[in-house]
């Protein structure tokens, strides 16, 4: 009795060729007036990153891969720890939450994901504009918030900012790659093989304001490898306020 809508959506969307260009480039933004000076003694709380790595079938479906996801989670954690010194401020990992705290955290993770999707969809990449955000876009104002409820999140009392990280990779399967090559040489169609999407956001843990967001629809570096995940972590956090990580 499940998956009714999922399967219909799947059939309608996946099949073929040109994937959606919505997040095909990279963009980042900082809230007006926000500056995080290096070594200012601020503490940044990192919430559990959302990471999934898998393959892309010939027809374009996402095929989850537990082994790759575990490797990526481990490698990215190591890479983020290594970057800590370059972020310019102290980084703490959010504590495991239980009961009411866990529910509150879960709601805020979902809220962050909805807000950052809205930023990416309606502000970062031209095309769609929310009527209420038209002026912000014209004047280059970056004004989004999760609300003051973030102050009650577990671990928030000992930190100044919260960092959320999302990462999803789909590596083109052999079939997809062959399809890509044949489609290019035969009818001359562009088939995209693989998808590497990620974004990271910094939230003020007192006001809930979104201070910085970096989204990239085509990330480099292979998080399944140690070297690749360092590059990936640098790209996720590039132009992080107060850091010396530059755009690559």
């Amino acid at each position: 009795m499940k998956d009714k809508f999922r399967s219909i959506a799947l059939l309608a969307s996946f099949i073929f060729l040109v994937s959606s260009p919505a997040i095909a480039q990279e963009r980042s933004a900082v809230r007006q007036g926000f500056e995080l000076a290096p070594n200012s003694g601020k503490r940044i709380l990192v919430f559990r990153p959302s990471i999934s790595v898998g393959a892309q079938s010939t027809g374009g479906m996402f095929e989850p891969n537990a082994e790759w996801t575990d490797q990526a989670r481990e490698n990215l954690q190591v890479a983020l720890d290594a970057l800590q010194s370059r972020l310019g401020n102290e980084v703490i990992v959010a504590p495991e939450a239980f009961g009411e705290d866990a529910r509150n955290l879960q709601e805020h993770m979902a809220l962050f994901s909805a807000v950052s999707q809205a930023v990416i969809e309606y502000q970062f990449f031209v095309g769609n504009r929310l009527p209420t955000k038209k002026r912000d876009n014209r004047e280059d104002v970056f004004d989004w918030s999760l609300g003051e409820g973030v102050a009650d999140l577990p671990g928030a009392e000992g930190a100044d900012y919260g960092l959320f990280i999302y990462n999803r990779d789909a590596y083109g399967s052999t079939g997809r790659k062959i399809l890509q090559v044949l489609a290019a040489f035969g009818p001359g169609l562009a088939v995209q093989s693989g998808e590497h999407v990620g974004y990271a956001g910094l939230v003020d843990l007192r006001t809930g304001d979104l201070l910085w967001l970096n989204a990239d629809g085509a990330m480099g570096g292979d998080p399944r490898e140690v070297d690749g995940s360092q590059k990936r972590a640098r790209q996720l956090l590039e132009e992080f306020p107060g850091s010396d990580i530059e755009a690559e």
């Binding site: 009795m1 499940k2 998956d3 009714k4 399967s7 219909i8 799947l10 059939l11 996946f14 099949i15 073929f16 060729l17 999934s52 898998g54 079938s57 010939t58 027809g59 374009g60 479906m61 095929e63 989850p64 891969n65 537990a66 082994e67 996801t69 575990d70 866990a102 529910r103 955290l105 879960q106 709601e107 979902a110 079939g175 399809l179 044949l182 489609a183 035969g186 009818p187 169609l189």
Partner: protein
């Protein structure tokens, strides 16, 4: 040449899908318990890991009703259907969601919707649905669906490539036909899996201590509800044996028929646990009925209330019926609603909410004196109600004090 290639691929796919979907119609027996199952292979391990993440989110979801007594009762009903060894692989979550559904995901997470609990009338009926869901789990249907969707979409990708290399009208038409047959096969494959899960569900029930005939009654009741809903909206009578192209499940009429055939006749005299079920659900009925009424489906809600009242009307049921009529809100409905609230108060003189509904209905039908008296009684019984300030505005004497 391309046409030939397409045609042979289509034939290949059709035969493969129908072989996979073949249903054993012979007398079903309980498959031996395989022990605690662990996922095998890249796909299944990957799906389980995604599902584990999903369950992590589910456990912290505000939609889950966190009541230990209710949750463990539902789990016990599942265990009594499928047996202690099997059911130990599952976690049950009760979701506050007023529709008729339950789902089982690949890693053994069972979601039971409050709307299902409202509609079941006995442990045996609930066990029939939970056993069906467990059948999906035991037969690893999610994995098979994933694989069949992947096969289908892979085939369409190659088909589209071939078709675009020879842009003639015939080739394009062949590709369209291929698309339709792949989609049609995927939907039919899902329906066949539902039939398989139904079969497994009834086998569990036949081997349990509960009455297996209840499985068919669930669908008969649901057909009654769908028909009542259609009638009250002036729609034509629904057809319970027609299969739509995109239908995810077999039609209700077909399910009711084969479930009643497969139910073991020796089981007919068994207990169906109706009394125990009603006892546990009684504390939850007000909330579940309220959610149902807010779906704004008059015919279905009325059908549910009346079928619950078959064991005798209670204050809760009269109150729910009053709310249902008052929410629809025609003048004629308000007169009925006032009567239903009065019945509820007759059975439970301290039911504050019933005084509120009674007062509001009477005010709207211009019966001011009685209406204000009822609202005053509501404020006496529940002075801290959320809407106390607003109700006070409607009661002049209270206001001037």
């Amino acid at each position: 040449m391309f046409r030939f290639a397409l045609a042979s691929i289509v034939t290949g796919l059709l035969s493969c899908a129908s072989a996979a979907g073949a249903l054993a119609q012979s007398a079903p027996i309980l498959p031996p318990y395989q022990g605690v199952y662990q996922p095998v292979g890249v796909d299944e391990i990957g799906i389980w890991q995604e599902d584990d993440e999903g369950e992590r989110r589910l456990a912290a979801s505000p939609l889950v009703i966190r009541d230990e007594r209710l949750t463990s009762y539902v789990k016990d009903v599942l265990c009594s259907a499928v047996g202690e060894d099997r059911c130990s692989a599952t976690r049950v979550y009760i979701m506050r969601e007023p529709t008729f559904n339950a789902t089982m995901s690949p890693n053994g997470t069972m979601r039971v919707f409050s709307g299902l609990l409202l509609r079941m009338r006995s442990e045996a009926e609930l066990a029939a649905i939970l056993g069906h869901e467990f059948g999906h789990f035991e037969s690893r249907h999610s994995l098979n669906i994933f694989k069949s969707q992947r096969r289908g979409t892979d085939l369409l990708a190659w088909g589209a490539l071939l078709a675009s290399m020879s842009p003639s009208y015939d080739v394009r038409r062949n590709y369209r036909n291929l698309e339709i047959s792949v989609y049609g096969n995927l939907f039919r494959y899902k329906r066949d899996q539902e039939r398989e899960a139904d079969t497994l569900g009834i086998v569990y029930l036949n081997n349990s201590n509960l009455r297996p005939q209840a499985a068919s009654e669930v669908w008969q009741n649901l057909m009654g509800e769908i028909e009542a809903s259609a009638n009250s909206r002036g729609l034509s009578r629904p057809r319970f044996n027609a299969v739509a192209f995109t239908a995810s499940h077999p039609p209700e009429g077909e399910r009711a028929a084969y479930l009643s055939q497969l139910a073991s006749p020796e089981g007919a005299s068994r207990d169906d646990g109706a009394a125990r079920y009603q006892e546990v659900l009684s504390t939850w009925l007000p909330m579940f009925l309220d959610d149902q009424i807010k779906l704004n489906d008059f015919g279905a809600s009325e059908y549910i209330i009346e079928s619950l009242a078959r064991n005798g009307w209670t204050a809760t049921l009269w109150f729910a019926r009053g709310e249902l009529y008052r929410t629809r809100g025609n003048q004629r409905d308000l007169v009925n609603a006032a009567q239903f609230y009065a019945n509820a108060i007759g059975m439970d003189a301290n039911l504050a909410e019933a005084y509120r509904g009674l007062g509001l209905s009477l005010l709207k039908t211009n019966n001011m004196t009685d209406g204000e008296a009822a609202l005053r009684r509501y404020l006496e019984l529940n002075p801290d109600a959320d809407d106390a300030m607003m109700i006070r505005l409607m009661v002049p004497t209270e206001n001037s004090q």
